[in-house]
Amino acid sequence: MNNMTLYVNRDSPVHRVDPLTKLLFVFISITSTYISANHLAVFGILLFTFIILMTGNVFKSILPVIGVSFLLIASIIIVQGFFHPDRATVLFEIGPIAIYKEGFSIALLITLRVVNMVAAFGVLILTTKPDDLVEALLQKGLSPKFGYVLLSVLQIIPQMVALTGKITDAQRARGMETEGGIWMRFKSFLPLLGPVVLNSLTETRERSIALEIRGFNAKGNRTFLYERETYRYSMPLRIALIIFFLAVIVWRVMS
């Protein structure tokens, strides 16, 4: 049965790191790649993110997501390669089309950044239980309502998948062909969109009743079921991350 989350349940050093440190990592990893314009440095950061994913034993799970963003990446390469205003040196030609070196180099940088962004979020989302993350933020003073919204966002993909499955079943059961080749699947995908979106909106009303009757909007102090054991290395890790971040900024300003 569907678990409704993207979280991959493994036991690894990465899984044990506390959610807030991972959140800090996501922030620093992504911003650093944008601060630094050096290909090698960005590539290094990406490599490091990949290594963390591998340590977390979830590298395989990120590949489909990178695959999906490939469309975006391809279009970046083409657009930048063709049309970058500084184009001067032809890198290579595909028939009549010339890809320019300057544009290509920018495109490569953007690609590295995008892949790193996806991978860094992967570190957070694939190795952290969504409720752990939200709870950590709630304990830091985030409003429960916002926490719930965040939680819903984290679940939105698996939930849409589950809902799509239900509606497909309902449609198949009544004679709409959805099995078969790519074209058949594509054709059956479009009529799904309306019901999926509208259905999830209607579910929202029932969900909010469920939340209300469990005292979700109570004003008093909340308690938490689990005591979060403080992660032993979170301070050193966070300090290391911040030092690295400062170094990136300094390096960028100096060069």
Binding site: M1, N2, N3, M4, T5, K129, P130, D131, V134, P144, Y148, L151, S152, Q155, A162, K166, I167, D169, A170, Q171, R172, A173, R174, G175, M176, E177, T178, E179, G180, P195, L198, N199, T202, E203, E206, R207, S208, I209, A210, L211, E212, I213, R214, G215, F216, N217, A218, K219, G220, N221, R222, T223, F224, L225, E227
Partner: protein, 557 residues
């Protein structure tokens, strides 16, 4: 000091022209168990909303009168203050999970965390309520991976853990297997003994008669009677309010058993006399009545060595062999036994891991669910999973159009079927504005409109009142007359006894029994193992000292 006081309560939903609650007044004392009865439009659910503050704080609309929870009046307090004292469990378990938690254990904790209950108390209360509802085995599972019945128990546990002063339950057992329903009543009674006030809307009159201290009879938003169960159930005009008295009352009325002092009928099994001479219609008379439509030929489903599991190594269906054709077949068994999975396999919505299903000799593995649509119709358990259009008539026409009916034909069919299920006047409404029972009927109409050779129902009586149930029964009979094969998953044993000639007892992914319904209800061990009970009438006749299996009141003279 009464724990709950309702004074001249009136309420109208926004955009509605009539009162959903019309001048209702009553008081409830601490520890009372109050049953609410009435047909589906009587206002039972609205009353539950009003007592828990959802009306008027969540559902706006016109509101008059007062509701007091102890000293607190509902109108001027926020929902969260009210829900600290009033717990609400409703009918559809699928929409009671918060979605904020990923295990049953954490789900139960959700309300406690919001209330600020200290951690050690929280763990204690969660364990306690899981134990009460016998769901300790599910604690690590994701709430959304559970069956309907299991989920409902989680919903009840989640609310009980919050220790409300008043617990309101709106048809909480309609998704549960008979044993599970009985357990819920026992738990609730125990809570009432411990001082919790219980208000429960139910369609299972036998159970309310046995457990409730008081009954409120609602009709059209008005409180018709507020009295002791034996008073209310002895009324002669109950049928006018769409309520059927407990079967014991009906039998007692036929046999003329009533208290000389009060003129009231016995309402529960315990109150019925132990020995009483009964006369039965001769068995050939019964036979001629029950098997009149037999000899018809229907489509045939043959299942051979069927295995299926959602996850590797965890078989939900373990090696089923069965041939289904002819008279309507009931499938009974506990929540989570694999009944729904089985019918999804029959409909080719799921692919078996091994084994094969043949429809009139053709293996299903060579076809798709969509191609089967014109042969096999499946009405889902949860209508919300089935309905996806935003107008009732479009929903009902979807299937017929897909299997090649012209739009004129489809429209005519759809209208006819809506008429059949009693929703002709709702054709242009949005299915989501209808009640659960009505949505269930929409789902039914949308399958029936396809005129398939085989019709499979997954718990069609869920949430239906007496009228709804008799409608379902009529539909099943007429399908059989039209030589269709009907297969039906059910938790309502009285309904099974009255409607089906053949019964399959399902347990743990296999069949414990397959044969005539009369024999099925003689299988004590199998019934216990599958957590189902004998029909009430069967129990009654056995209690009166006969060992024959009686399925209908009409078998008594």
């Amino acid at each position: 000091m009464s724990v709950l006081r309702v004074v001249n309560l009136k309420y109208k939903y926004p955009d509605s022209s009539h009162f959903a609650l019309d001048d209702i007044s009553f008081t409830v004392e601490k520890g009372e168990f109050v049953g609410i009865i009435g047909m589906n439009t009587a206002g039972k659910t609205s009353l539950g909303y009003a007592l828990s503050g959802l009306i008027p704080h969540f559902f706006k609309g016109a509101y008059g009168g007062d509701v007091y929870i102890g000293e607190m009046d509902v109108l001027s307090h926020e929902i969260s203050e009210i829900t600290a004292k009033v717990g609400l469990v409703f009918e559809n378990p699928f929409s009671q999970m918060t979605g904020a938690k990923f295990t049953v254990y954490d789900e139960i904790a959700f309300g406690l965390e919001n209330q600020g209950v200290p951690r050690d108390v929280m763990h204690e209360r969660i364990r306690e309520s899981m134990k009460l509802l016998d769901i300790e085995g599910l604690q690590g599972k994701n709430p959304f991976s559970l069956s309907g019945g299991q989920m409902q128990r989680v919903a009840i546990a989640s609310v009980i853990a919050m220790k409300p002063d008043i617990l309101i339950l709106d048809e909480p057992t309609s998704q549960l297997d008979p044993e599970g329903a009985e357990e819920v009543f026992r738990v609730v009674e125990k809570l009432a003994d411990e001082g919790m006030t219980i208000i429960m809307a139910e369609q299972k009159m036998e159970k309310l008669a046995a457990y409730a201290d008081r009954i409120l009879l609602l009709h059209d938003g008005k409180l018709i009677e507020d009295g002791k169960p034996e008073e209310v159930f002895s009324r002669d005009d109950l049928r006018e309010f769409g309520v059927e008295p407990p079967v014991y009352v009906k039998v007692a009325r036929t046999l003329g058993i009533r208290s000389e002092k009060t003129g009231q009928y016995p309402i529960s099994l315990d109150e019925m006399p132990r020995e009483r001479e009964l006369r039965f219609h001769p068995s050939d008379y019964i036979k001629s009545k029950t098997t009149e439509a037999n000899g018809t030929t229907t489509a045939e489903l043959i299942v051979r060595d069927l295995h299926f599991g959602y996850e590797k190594g965890q078989d939900v269906i373990r090696g089923l062999n069965v041939t289904m054709s002819g008279e309507p077949i009931a499938i009974i068994g506990q929540n989570g036994a694999g009944k729904t999975t089985f019918v999804k396999l029959l409909k080719a919505l799921l692919k078996p891991d091994s084994g094969e299903i043949y429809l009139d000799g053709n293996p299903l593995s060579r076809t798709t669910a969509a191609k089967l649509a014109s042969r096999i119709g499946l009405i889902f358990q949860n209508p919300n999973d089935q309905i996806f259009k935003h107008k009732v008539i479009d929903e009902v026409m979807f299937g017929p159009l897909n299997i090649g009916q012209s739009s004129k034909e489809a429209l005519a069919n759809a209208k006819e079927m809506l008429d059949l299920v009693g929703l002709a006047d709702k054709a242009d409404e949005n299915p989501y504005d209808l009640s659960l029972a009505e949505r269930k009927m929409v789902a039914m109409a949308s399958i029936l409109a396809m005129d398939t050779d085989i019709v499979i129902f997954d718990e069609p009586t869920m949430g239906q009142d007496v009228r709804g149930k008799s409608k379902v029964k009529e539909i099943i009979h007429s399908l059989h007359e039209k030589e269709k094969l009907v297969i039906c998953i059910l938790h309502d044993m009285d309904f099974v006894a009255e409607t089906f000639g053949r019964t399959i007892i399902f347990s743990d992914g296999g069949m414990l029994f397959d044969g005539p319904t009369r024999e099925a209800f003689a299988q004590g061990d199998a019934l216990r193992l599958a957590r189902v009970e004998q029909p009430h009438i069967t129990k009654l006749v056995q209690r009166m000292g006969y060992d024959r299996i009686v399925l209908k009141e009409t078998e008594l003279m």
